[in-house]
């Protein structure tokens, strides 16, 4: 079978990451197709969050960070000198572990990404706010209170505001770093449902500690262990018929 490389959304090729002397990502290569959900699983400190943050270059600010190998998004090396990191991050959004809305109104939170691009057209902003909040499945809950502080909402609502804020800048990839780990089960279910719906328009990579969540939301699963990518395949494959013993042990809860 001939692979059509141009269709790959993200290609990582022999990526290594060091923090000073610590070798935290070891020779990881993987390919992610557009409009899929990929779950990164593995025990704490296995490098999955570090790898996620490579994709929108959030590790750049960490002192002592160094990487080798290439990461291509849409065929373009994102660590190329010509790439402006601000442009890159508009295309690759990120949702964090703890809901982190700005201490501003719901409305201001959602349009922040546009404001910093210098977009001030009122009708465009209003339209973006409604569309993004609808996509993040929170419009009905907040539409009458857009000027209320985002910090006054519940944790689950705050997280969906953060998702709306990310979608407002029209990214093609959304990175989610344990987006539901700080939320109650009902909010978690809402976020998972949302991930399902977002798949049609975005490529999603989600880091999670929750095996059931990975099984429910993802198309493919990547299992990391101490900086290495142990196994990467279809979600069903991983959970029903893992190839490596290490994977088997982890998903059955024998360690982790």
């Amino acid at each position: 079978m001939v692979k059509d490389i141009s269709k790959d959304k993200l290609v990582a090729d022999k990526v290594n990451v060091y923090y000073d002397e610590a070798h935290v990502i070891k020779d990881v290569s993987l390919t992610i197709q557009p409009n899929t959900v990929t779950a990164f699983i593995g025990p704490s400190g296995c490098g999955k969050s570090t790898f996620l943050r490579l994709v929108n270059r959030m590790n750049d600010y960490i002192d002592g960070f160094r990487k080798t190998g290439n990461i291509l998004v849409d065929g373009q090396d994102i660590y190329d000198k010509k790439i402006r990191v601000e442009e890159l991050r508009k295309n690759i959004g990120m949702v964090f572990q703890k809901p982190n809305p700005f201490p501003k109104s719901i409305y201001e939170n959602v349009i922040y990404g546009l404001r910093i691009q210098g977009i001030n057209n009122k009708s465009k902003l209003n339209e973006t706010v409604e569309r993004s909040l609808r996509r993040a499945a929170i419009w009905d809950e907040v539409k009458d209170n857009l000027n209320k502080s985002a910090l006054s909402l519940s944790g689950g609502q705050q997280q969906r505001i953060c998702i709306a804020r990310t979608l407002a800048v029209e990214p093609s990839i959304v990175l989610m770093d344990e987006p539901a780990s700080a939320l109650d089960p009902i909010s978690t279910a809402k976020i998972e449902e949302l991930i399902h719906e977002l798949k049609s328009q975005y490529t999603i990579i989600i880091v999670t500690h929750n095996m059931q969540q990975a099984a429910r939301v993802s198309d493919k699963v990547a299992f990391f262990y101490i900086g290495e990518l142990i196994e990467f395949s279809e979600t069903k494959e991983i959970f029903i018929n893992p190839k490596k013993e290490l994977t088997q042990n982890y998903i059955t809860g024998r360690f982790g």
């Binding site: 002192d63 601000e86 508009k90 964090f96 700005f102 922040y112 910093i116 990310t166 800048v169």
Partner: protein, 286 residues
């Protein structure tokens, strides 16, 4: 066993009373000081006192010149020290790399905040008055006081910036914001309360300073209001110092009245700082 608990309880109570005693001691001293100042000087506070030039006769003398000088110094010092201090604080906290040089700079700035003010006066005398040739002008005085409060502003700016959670910075960067946009739209608004509080407290420290201004030679007998930053000047603390060194009883009364004015300005500034801090703290809860 129960004996041990009793002893512990007694110790606990002992410390409580000791703490109350310590607190009361400070309050009592402040009370005595305020009472003696107010009872002696309050009746001297009339329009004539605020609106008169210095004089050899205590009942004719007033604080017009030093009061104006203090206002001028406040404004000029703010104009110099606030932009410099806040910008340095932002640079060190948000932009500067956290390496060995940064920690050396940090320790030095913290140390500078503790240098006796008269030493700043000596430095200023050499640089501003002699080398730059600014003389005993308002500008030289304001630059001196700016130097003095710069470390305070830098340190309090950094503390205020540090209090803004890292997650807010990450959220902003992740949406494609530059460092400056993140600082301007998110970090500064969220830390404004802390920064403004620090700035006001620093300014209120500056207007109470005497020693460095005496060193640069601001202790003058002036009879005209300053009209530009290059004019000679006097300020309230220097006028107080001056009056207190006179033998006549009338000048002592004048000095206490001037102390009331200076205290009032300081209290008002500190009051504003406390008000702003409470307001901002209520607004932003992480």
């Amino acid at each position: 066993m129960s004996k041990r608990i009793d002893i512990n309880r007694i110790k606990d109570n002992l410390f409580r009373y000791f703490g109350i005693g310590c607190t009361l001691f400070g309050l009592l001293m402040l009370g005595i000081f305020l009472y003696s100042v107010v009872s002696e000087g309050f009746s001297r506070l009339d329009w004539q006192f605020f609106n008169s030039l210095p004089s050899r006769k205590p009942e004719d003398a007033g604080i017009l010149i030093p009061l104006f000088g203090t206002m001028w110094v406040m404004i000029l010092t703010s104009m110099i020290a606030i932009p410099l201090g806040v910008a340095s604080g932002i640079y060190l906290e948000e932009y500067g790399k956290k390496n060995r040089l940064a920690s050396v700079i940090e320790i030095n700035i913290t140390n500078l905040a503790g240098v006796p003010s008269i030493i700043y006066g000596l430095l200023a005398l050499e640089i501003f008055v002699r080398i730059l040739g600014l003389g005993k002008s308002l500008l030289a005085g304001s630059l001196t006081l700016s130097l003095l409060i710069l470390p305070i502003i830098i340190v309090s700016t950094r503390e205020a910036l540090k209090a803004v959670p890292k997650t807010i910075r990450e959220a902003s960067y992740a949406l494609g914001a530059t460092k400056w946009q993140t600082t301007w739209f998110q970090i500064l608004p969220a830390s404004a309360g802390g920064i403004v509080t620090g700035v006001i407290l620093a300014i209120s420290r500056a207007i109470g300073e005497t020693a460095p201004l005496i060193v640069i030679g601001a202790m003058l007998y002036i009879t005209t209001l300053p009209s530009s930053p290059m004019d000679d000047f006097s300020v309230l603390p220097i006028q107080i110092f001056n009056w207190l060194s006179r033998p006549q009883k009338g000048f002592i009364v004048n000095a206490t009245a001037a102390i009331i004015v200076l205290l009032a300005i300081t209290f008002i500034l500190n009051g504003i700082a406390i008000y702003l801090r409470n307001r901002w703290q209520k607004k932003v809860k992480w």
